[in-house]
């Protein structure tokens, strides 16, 4: 140890070494904590995905009322011609039913594909009598095969519960035939309404607050504080607001009665438009906050350069500030809309229908959305509903991912345009 310290921060070698050692120790602890946090996050994500895939794929045991092999020697319905298929239908179905089919669309005019579908649905009538998870399908294959071999008239196949068929089929009481078409269309309509309503309104409000409002006036301060508070309010409260305001208060409009007096009165205001407006309100504060941050990030120098050539405030905002911040505005908006797509609680309050089989025909139709559908299916006691719930979750995830991908592509395209 040296006794003559010339500078208050002068240190001996040993002291310095100890200091560095201590600093490294602290660093290591923090590093470990960060790795741990990231690890836990990744692990939970993997568990979540595994859980979903576990339900969405697996062996199913199907029992047919009539074996295809009894209908055609090869066991493959596609080997039959049109006449053969019609003959089967006429043989196995009552005369009254055949008349009804003919009334819908004459059998002779139907394509081979349509006829095969009809035979499958009406004559073969496959019923899933047991379904296994992906995990069981992989690790307990022998047991499953034994069960299948034990029961007569059954076939064991590996089924992907999420398929194109699943995406385009409407809701159905039987999980085997149910699809997400209605819910998917409901969600897409909703996205459209939310985008058309919340995006321009949110950006306009952000422009006002960031560029025009003087921070000094009491009402501007009040608005500002409240927008931040609104962003934190539980979504179910927005549901109650939507119920009072759109479903009840604006019923003549939201039920569509204003435009078409013959409309189905039982829907009241519990329609897509009410749901869309409610969700638009819900994400409005998010869009405003995100857009304001985006505007705030534009440097003063860009604004000044515009003012210096004699531009008005509006010209400056419209031609320079908005384009420069548009990438960020867009990202914020897509994030907010993703949140809206996943909302369930407020829609339950606003009155999402539990069972809709028809495509929403207009803004004033009954609706259901993907999360509502998933919620309902997963609440059903039969295990097969859990399989289709898992399938629906995958569809929802794909929807979200494509929305985000769309945002990224848009952003890159805008960025590229600005660079040339």
């Amino acid at each position: 140890m040296s006794k003559t310290k010339t500078h208050p921060m002068a240190r001996t070698h040993e002291e310095l070494a100890a200091l560095i050692h201590r600093r490294r120790q602290t660093g290591k602890v923090w590093q470990l904590a960060f790795y741990g946090a990231t690890g836990i996050a990744i692990l939970s994500l993997i568990v979540l995905l595994l859980n979903i895939f576990n339900g969405a794929f697996g062996f199913v045991l199907i029992q047919n009322e009539v074996e295809p092999a009894d209908l055609v020697a090869s066991g493959n319905l596609a080997d039959l011609d049109q006449a053969g298929l019609i003959a089967i239908i006429e043989e196995y179905q009552s005369a009254g039913l055949v008349r009804r089919f003919n009334a819908e669309k004459p059998l002779a005019n139907r394509s081979e594909r349509e006829l095969i579908d009809l035979v499958e649905e009406r004559v073969v009538k496959p019923v899933i009598i047991q379904a296994w998870s992906l995990q069981d399908s992989i690790f307990r294959q022998n047991e499953i095969r034994a069960v299948a071999a034990d029961s007569d008239l059954t076939t064991l196949t590996f089924r992907s519960w999420v398929s194109w068929e699943f995406v385009v089929s409407p809701q159905n009481p039987s999980p085997q035939f149910a699809g997400v078409r209605t819910a998917l269309l409901g969600s897409l309509w909703m996205i459209l309404i939310v985008m058309v309503v919340a995006f321009p309104m949110g950006v306009a409000a952000a422009i006002y607050l960031e560029e025009y409002a003087t921070k000094k006036t009491w009402y501007n301060r009040l608005i500002e504080v409240n927008i931040y508070n609104l962003a934190g309010i539980p979504s179910i409260i927005y549901g109650l607001l939507g119920l009072a305001l759109f479903v009840r208060g604006m019923a003549p409009f939201t039920s569509g009665a204003m435009f078409d007096p013959t409309v189905d009165e039982t829907t009241n205001g519990r329609t897509i438009i009410s749901a869309g407006l409610t969700l638009a309100l819900l994400i409005l504060p998010l869009i405003i906050i995100n857009s304001r941050e985006a505007l705030k990030a534009i440097p003063k120098s860009l604004r000044e350069s515009s003012y210096a050539v004699g531009a008005t405030k509006w010209q400056t905002v419209w031609h320079h500030v908005l384009p420069a911040s548009f990438e960020r505005v867009l990202t914020g908006t897509i994030l907010a809309i993703s949140r809206a797509v996943g909302e369930t609680a407020p829609l339950v309050v606003v009155g999402a229908s539990t069972f809709v089989t028809f495509d929403p025909a207009s803004l004033f139709a009954k609706f259901t959305t993907m999360p509502i559908q998933i919620y309902q299916w997963s609440a059903r006691p039969q295990s097969q509903f859990r399989n289709i719930a898992a399938g629906a979750i995958i569809v929802l995830l794909i929807l979200m991912l494509s929305m985000n991908a769309f945002a990224i592509i848009m952003r890159n395209r805008i960025a590229k345009e600005r660079r040339v």
């Binding site: 000044e304 350069s305 210096a308 050539v309 004699g310 531009a311 008005t312 040339v420």
Partner: protein, 251 residues
């Protein structure tokens, strides 16, 4: 106000909130001449410059007392439109700040929003030629202006300013971010632009002030210490503080 004055300030006080940055500044800016504003950092040069085209209006909580005359009108009169003032009194900033758009659009935009109806291509060409930039960029007018070098960007900013036909050009340390060659080009440009425009330039570089300006004003803590013909002021400063500053003893 005499007709050979481009602008004039009279007893100008300026406040940022409670902080007073300018005290009783009275200055005449001669028409088609270059006036240099010098002084140590924080003495209020930029503040004065930004008072001359009402750029300070954009900073909240500021106050102006006194007069700034431009064509015999006090630009702080309530009926005067600051937007029009900013077109007539252009500004070039310390850090080159072209619009993040094409080179062409950088020049054309200001003219377009000000209602220019003539031949835009010709305007772009003459503006760039006057700033000695045409030969360097004529092949890439559609490229983003940010792809230019710092010196080219600053000349583009000057071209952008003259494209809207101002009467006065304010320059706030236009070369402080540039290399010596770019600096020399801009100084040369200033001397050429003097033929058509009145120029007011803030600089920390004494040699630059001596090279380009006709008149110099020396500031200290928000006050004018001394003002006069540049040659005279640098050769025999009347005030001790001016002498100390230009000989590099402080600042």
């Amino acid at each position: 106000m005499e007709s050979n004055l481009a602008m004039q300030t009279k007893d100008l006080d300026f406040f940022y909130g409670d902080f007073q940055a300018l005290f009783k500044v009275s200055l005449d800016f001669q028409i088609k001449q270059v006036t240099a504003l010098i002084g140590p950092s924080g003495c209020g040069k930029s503040t004065l410059l930004r008072c001359l085209n009402r750029m300070n209006d954009l900073i909240p909580d500021t106050k102006v007392i006194g007069q700034v005359s431009f064509e015999n009108v006090n630009i702080y009169n309530p009926e005067v439109d600051p937007v029009e003032i900013r077109r007539r009194v252009g500004m070039v900033f310390q850090k080159p700040n072209p619009f993040p758009k094409s080179i062409y659009e950088n020049i054309a935009w200001g003219a377009r929003i000000n209602g220019f109806r003539g031949d835009m291509d010709a305007l772009v060409e003459t503006s760039l030629k006057r700033c000695a930039l045409w030969d360097e960029v004529k092949g890439k007018l559609r490229q983003n202006a940010l792809s230019l070098s710092g010196g080219q960007q600053q000349r583009l900013c000057i071209a952008r300013t003259i494209a809207v036909e101002p009467d006065v050009i304010l320059m706030d340390e236009p070369t402080s971010a540039l290399d010596p060659i770019s600096t020399a080009k801009i100084e040369e440009l200033i001397l050429e632009l003097k033929e058509r425009y009145s120029i007011i330039i803030v600089t920390h570089n004494m040699q630059q002030a001596a090279r380009v300006s006709d008149q110099t004003a020396f500031f200290l803590n928000g006050f004018i210490v001394e003002v006069g013909a540049t040659k005279e002021l640098f050769a025999n400063p009347k005030e001790d503080k001016t002498k100390a500053y230009i000989s590099g003893q402080f600042g």
